[in-house]
Subunit: 402 residues, 2 copies
């Protein structure tokens, strides 16, 4: 079986290893430390820094394909690896559009994909001009390096914008701005593509965000019209194809309404790797995004994306403000005792407030609005219990041995 | 999360690691070699021999629970570990009945479970007397150490039996004999039980055997009456409870007909660990047998055993007489190109004729006889292609890029 080097040691790499085992592979990892989430569960590890060429070079030795669990590897390293004949997936020319938000906007606009009004920001004057153009509805973004709400700002006034841009440009942060969209909700359209050009799309889902972090995903997106679902799915396939993306692609979308009050979508972000909004596929789909990603980067035919349940809900377990008193195994036990269908995925990371420590998936077999609400309620209760050691609905538990 | 030591390095331990990763665990392994199936994909490995006390002792250091991927660990070691305070799951007193077929028969008979007529065989005379008692329908078994058809004999005549028993007793192989059952088919009733006594049963399935090796499993068993299914399921729960089994339990059953022509079941074997007939649960059930086993041995509440498809078929890929010319990744690709829903599980083992190298699972959404036949056909075609690099139905493939 092909050897796949994964650069990155977080939970995405960890969950790739899960699937690699079943495919008869074992991934080779470039990890920052031996106790990182992925390094805990892999055998073949190179300890090093993805920003150091020599470390990257050691990690790719013998690899049939090189892939990533984040977008932060320097583009020059990726080009160098490509030049040496390594199969870098996604290829640097595609990955660029997940790394640089301004280039992404420009490229998507060129292909006719719906993007919010935007502008490069290289001076305070440009920022203020954009502010006036969009009537103050400004979202300012670092072009590179942002994630989970980092690198995104919503300045409250013209004066705030002036100060912020001045400060960030002073720190040499390359910037862009876009019109803040009047959001109905966020959607995610995911697909995977092989170097040979095969594409397989998953159902379009709803993603619930809090403070710029995905906290919940519901697949398929409830109440989404067939028409808009097809439009979003086709868009993800088009982006994958025209940009030459390989592996998993997440097209994060804003759903809004046009002037006539009809639903409309805009592209928010692209991620070219397994994505938080695709975790539902581990328990709710014939092929999980992690298996699909490994197959895609090795140019193997893609698997069926058929859902195995009418609805699947994923809820992240983010570290709470305080670490709970009870041991984690106790909290898992309480969740499983109350809800035997809840699937827990845990990343082996140390608790830290706001940190993604794991997620839960729950399949629902009733796709009515009430059924979906019930599935969401249970998944959220479970996730909150894992975080806080408390039932948000005041449940006091069953007597022992009941 | 609890640390679980697994004694054994085969595919069962490997597939436990898959689930351990998602549960936030990483299992500690006692492995015979670093390139064994499970050791390839684990981080925390003790290289040693399960028949050497010092090696076992090293492997269990710090473990919250100790479990197995085979039954061959000497009982005295297990007792010693228990005596030292280790949580050995299943406990030696239960495991004994999976290790010794005569004790198992005696114990099951005592609890009123249906077993074929049997006898201890300590002399040639006893063997011949048993032969006459069952009109020559003799199945001779080694009491300990058999697997996959090893340690089971069907002597063709009284004379063959005399020679065989004489030879085996001469080699000090402890023996028993039982009446050969007029088989309709084989079934498997699986459940898991925690040390606290919670039991969860999976649907009863049909197991297809060739030369004493499981080659296919169909879950649920097609055409099984609700009554017989309940009887088999209740039997597995009873065995688990009365014997104090912990972890996964497979009760392998013979389905036959009584004198009135009604279906009847007899217990064939017990396995106290994840079992080949439970592999379907990886893709066809909310909780796989590997996850359930890990939860059970750590005394955590059990997961839902709800199937996610009307029927799931598992087919083993056993090494063929000759290794195929094509690389394994090419064969996987051909299978996936033709059948995108086929899930391949591969054990990372070297090819050897008859060796269990992997298996495929396929969910079917049509539970009619024709639908089940079609799902079985596809799963078998896929497995055969992986083994031989040839389509058994003469399929010649699609043109490139179609």
């Amino acid at each position: 079986m092909p050897i796949v080097t994964v650069i990155g040691d977080g939970q995405l790499a960890r969950m790739m290893q899960t699937e690699a085992i079943e495919l008869g592979q074992s991934i080779k990892l470039l990890a920052g430390s031996r106790d990182s989430s992925a390094a805990q569960v892999c055998h073949d590890i190179v300890i090093g820094d993805y920003r150091v060429w020599e470390d990257v070079e050691r990690a790719v030795q013998g690899a049939h394909a090189v892939t990533f669990d984040h977008e932060h590897v320097p583009t020059e390293f990726l080009n160098r690896l490509s030049g040496m004949g390594y199969s870098v997936q996604p290829q640097p020319a595609a990955l660029l559009y997940a790394q640089d938000k301004l280039l992404m906007r420009q490229r998507l606009e060129k292909m006719g994909a719906p993007v919010p009004e935007y502008s490069a920001i290289e001076s305070v004057e440009e920022a203020l001009a954009f502010h006036d153009r969009v009537d103050g509805a400004v979202c300012l973004k670092a072009r590179r390096g942002g994630y989970d709400g980092h690198g995104v700002w919503f300045p409250g006034s013209r004066e705030d914008l002036r100060e912020l841009v001045s400060e960030l440009l002073g720190q040499s942060v390359p910037l862009m701005a876009e019109r803040k969209v009047a959001l109905v909700r966020e959607l995610s359209a995911m697909c995977a593509r092989t170097p040979s050009g095969q594409v397989a799309a998953w159902p379009v889902l709803e993603s619930v965000q809090r403070d710029g972090i995905c906290v919940e995903a519901i697949c398929p997106a409830p109440g989404l019209s067939d028409d808009l679902a097809a439009q979003a799915r086709d868009l993800s396939v088009k982006v994958a194809t025209e940009l030459g993306v390989t592996g998993a692609l997440a097209v994060e979308l804003f759903e809004t309404t046009d002037e006539a009050g009809n639903p409309q979508i805009f592209v928010n972000e692209l991620a070219m790797r397994p994505h938080n909004t695709g975790h539902w596929s581990q328990d709710g789909c014939e092929t999980s995004q992690f298996e699909q990603h490994l197959r895609a980067v090795a140019d193997l035919p893609l698997g069926s994306t058929r859902p195995t349940a009418p609805v699947t809900v994923m809820v992240n377990t983010l570290g709470g403000e305080e670490a709970p008193d009870s041991p984690i195994a106790y909290r898992f036990a309480e969740v499983w005792r109350r809800f035997p269908s809840v699937k827990i995925h845990w990343y082996g990371k140390e608790w830290r407030p706001g940190r993604k420590l794991g997620h839960v998936n729950l399949c629902g077999y009733d796709a009515t609005a009430e059924g979906i609400a019930e599935t969401r309620k249970i998944a959220n209760l479970a996730a909150e219990y894992i975080v806080n050691g408390k039932w948000a609905d005041g449940y006091v538990g069953k007597p022992e041995n009941s």
